[in-house]
Amino acid sequence: MADTLVHPTVEEPPVEERRRPPRVRKTPVTYLLRFIVTAYLFFLVAWPVSLVVTHTFSDGLGSIRSLLEDPDMVVALQLSAYVAVWSVLINTVFGVGMSLLLVRYEFPGKRLLNSLLDIPLSVSPIVVGLALVLVYGGRNGWLGPTLAGWGLDVIFSTPGIIMATTFVALPLMIRELVPVLEEIGIEQEQAAESLGANGLQRFWRITLPSIKWGITYGVVLTLARSLGEFGAVKVVSGNVLGQTRTATLAVEEKYLNFDQQGAYATAFLLAMVSVACIVVVAIIRPKNHP
């Protein structure tokens, strides 16, 4: 094609997205604030967590090995993992759909829906557990007997644990995705539309890749929260050894039975998964993303 420029345009230098933060003068207040934050994080978070680690390994890998050799413990860990994975899956699908609904559409009752989605975070997990028992209790719940008649046990069984765990982690994915979607706007999708992409193509090629880091963080948060759920699960599961005892319930059990080593070891395993996720994401995240 013919050169359509009269004269060669001077190519502007590529713009770096990441700008250096403005230099702030360091005053005594800066150091004081840093000290306060460090002390706060240390006493509330770092030290207690590190004690768990040191106690776990106080006689080498012994405590962890004995943990993994106990078949009931293995079942508990598997149950926690199973429940957490289901919770992440359900909350991802539901979270993406709900976030798109909240950001892209106007409808009556939207603000009410928005507030309702915050309830799982603001309500005590024990209340969540009790509410589920109320509705799905096998003997005198609202829906329980009907479902039991169809062969589906919810309370004191795995489905109930999954429901409870999914519920308490519900807002995490949504609150992560809504700001991302608001920032992206709809122009990219309109551009894709003008280029011939239908709804599904736009969702798959434009929307999802644009929010992938939001989803990643949402998954990490949901996973951590799901693995760590205690109160709701305690009410809903019945805590039957080898069947409905999750890892968190096992920690409590061991601690109350003076098996401190076991308690620390289990707690350590749970914490490690969450920490590992966060570390992996922090490493693979590209530097110019928020």
Binding site: A2, L5, E187, E193, S194, L195, A197, K212
Partner: protein, 325 residues
């Protein structure tokens, strides 16, 4: 005719964006939709593209009734003011997007992308991400992306609005030359009358949801249909009962022609080769006059001088609208 819009109405709540708009945009030309912000030109463009739906009226593109066709079936290319680049794809993938959607063979896509990147002078950036490009480069990429699918119509929504003045001028030139090469029916929206006058073959002036006038740049500038078009397309001043252009006034240090109006120069500003004067006439008008430096020197016009003003022969004049109190 390439695009036929008839009886278009669009309201956003109580706000009337478009009020019975009828316009025909000729094939193969570069047409500008010109008007003040909020006037409805972007809305009209988006309705043509299919990104918005009109309340009533019809849109026909290349003879095909397009009113109820979704945007993806209209085969129009759209360029946004803020580029709307696909941030997670490289420049090459951005440009290839439309072709990939249409499931073209891979080597055809590669060839076309290469061709287009050469056209917009972005070949060396093919594997960069849009975040590594400057604004002007991103807009050129967006243009290549829109042209990749060989649209029947190319629509640009204030394409240079987000760029700084120098880049804007360069890209304006460049768009005109691109159009001369590629000949796609192009419609672009702008509120900058200089841009419209410089680039477009035909201008549609839109204000408050209504079409004020349609014509070539010369027609609009020299034969404005009303006060609004006249004042929007260039500087306007008032003498006696008429509106005219400040550079269409003859100014002399003695009454030369019949009908000259006497006045005093109250302000004089020299800007480049222009000299801008404010003259207070004996009738009480405050008239702006623009003359060249040489002319002002020759007639020794200074602040406080007494001068005589006459409309130049052949000046375009419009009877002045009732002045606001």
């Amino acid at each position: 005719m390439s695009i036929d819009v008839s009886g278009l109405n669009k309201k956003f709540g109580d706000f009337v964006a478009l009020d019975d708009v009828n316009v025909t945009i000729p094939t193969g030309q570069l047409t500008a939709l010109l008007g003040p912000s909020g006037g409805g030109k972007s809305t009209l463009l988006r309705i043509i593209a299919g990104l918005e739906k009109a309340d009533t009226g019809s849109v026909t593109i290349e003879g095909v009734e397009a009113t109820h066709l979704p945007a993806q079936k209209r085969n129009v290319g759209f360029v946004f003011q803020h580029y709307a680049v696909f941030k997670h794809m490289t420049v090459a993938k951005n440009v290839a997007f439309g072709l990939e959607i249409r499931k073209r063979p891979k080597d055809e896509i590669e060839h076309r992308v290469e061709e287009l990147l050469k056209l917009v002078h972005l070949s060396q950036f093919a594997h960069r991400l849009p975040s590594q490009l400057s604004g002007g480069q991103r807009q050129r990429m967006a243009l290549a992306r829109a042209l990749a699918v060989e649209p029947s119509v190319l629509l640009l929504d204030e394409p240079f609005g987000a760029l700084d003045a120098k880049v804007r001028k360069e890209l304006r030139d460049w768009l005109r030359r691109l159009h001369d090469d590629v000949h796609v029916t192009t419609v672009f929206v702008t509120h900058d009358q200089e841009e419209a006058l410089e680039v477009a073959d035909e201008i549609v002036v839109i204000n408050e949801g209504r079409v004020e006038q349609v014509g070539t740049p010369d027609q609009l500038y020299d034969e404005p249909a009303n006060d609004f078009v006249m004042s929007f397309l260039g500087e306007v001043t008032h003498l006696g009962g008429v509106s005219l252009r400040p550079h269409d006034l003859e100014i002399d240090s003695s009454p030369q022609l019949a009908g000259s109006v006497e006045g005093t120069v109250s302000r004089l500003v020299r800007i480049g080769f222009e000299v801008r004067l404010t003259v207070l006439t004996v009738d009480g008008d405050e008239v702006s006059v623009v003359v060249t430096r040489a002319h002002a020197r020759a007639h020794r016009i200074e602040e406080g001088s007494t001068v005589w003003l006459t409309p130049a022969a052949g000046a375009s004049v419009v009877p002045r609208m009732a002045a606001a109190v």
